[in-house]
Symmetry: C2
Subunit: 189 residues, 2 copies
């Protein structure tokens, strides 16, 4: 419901409100269990208002993914000082920002070639490559080590988020991920 005395035809901040409503709906119903009309109702605007800002449903999810990838790249860049913590930061981001990561992990939901998405993904990939290089046993194993580090972090985050790991009921994901990374890459150096 709009505020009293607020003009009906100019929300002022509708784009942000719709994105926040989408994040809330994704928490409640997953990345595909809600509708644009439902978000419009929550925002107190007409069913077609979000289309002005996003074009269509995929456009909205592209905006959500772009925000997510930008925050994700920032997170990995901040963690890059300690190569042992990059994988942990990957897992922490995926879990702490679940609605973002649920969308980010589903490229069919958004326009993956959106420039803000590709540039943020490249920033994140650079951190992964650089930190994995540090953990690699030798230069010819750099690429394989990068793939292993990425697979480990991505796989762990996905299993935790889907509830496949029994530990996700009451465990500490960061501590578990950190121990796993120590076990795997500690043996390689």
């Amino acid at each position: 419901m709009r505020q009293i005395n607020q003009p009906a035809y100019h929300h002022g901040n509708l784009r942000r409100v719709i994105i926040d409503a989408a994040l809330q709906a994704i928490i409640e119903s997953g990345p595909a269990g809600w509708s644009l009309r439902e978000l419009a109702r929550r925002a107190g605007v007409s069913h077609a208002a979000p289309a002005y800002h996003f074009g269509d449903k995929q456009g909205l999810l592209t905006a959500v993914a772009a925000e997510g990838f930008a925050m994700f790249a920032d997170t990995l860049e901040r963690a890059a000082a300690d190569v042992w913590e990059v994988g942990v930061a990957y897992v922490r981001f995926a879990i702490d920002h679940r609605p973002y990561s649920e969308v980010m992990f589903r490229p069919e939901l958004y326009r993956a070639d959106d420039p803000s998405i590709t540039s943020a993904r490249e920033r994140a990939a650079n951190v992964l490559v650089t930190s994995a290089g540090t953990l690699s046993p030798s230069p010819e194993h750099d690429r394989l080590t990068t793939i292993a580090a990425w697979s480990l972090a991505h796989g762990f985050a996905g299993l935790w988020l889907s509830g496949a790991l029994p530990e996700s009921a009451d465990g500490d994901p960061e501590a578990l991920a950190r121990s796993m990374i120590r076990l795997v890459f500690g043996a390689m150096r």
Copy 2:
């Protein structure tokens, strides 16, 4: 279009035909980009016919996931003789049976507590636990090694399927996965 002389009210094998149509549609449009009515049209029956066999859309995806998990458990059990090949078999299954794995990796699409799903998942988990135990450096690291093996295989498969790895354009996923597993677990023994 139904065969000539085939009774209109008794397809005879509609359940199988709808599941096959769903797998084909998932290949074409992903796990959420098709409709029950579209599958009914492809099968040449009315829009409500699939509901008799599956109840609703989620029921159909539950049947798809159940088939997938049963085949997956069979695949891992066959690979169990060589613990180094279990992770490779995981990746091979996910890629060779892409429509199944795209659904299986999305528990919000189906009823995960369906008994045929939980029993098949338990069979698969048993193989993972047993083979990872063999690769573990010591008994107190068994659980962590299992989680690492599962994360590695699951993460690699997911990255490959989503096209996130550049290697997925023209690489050999099994060979790449096998090399990665050798690198990671070879150092732990």
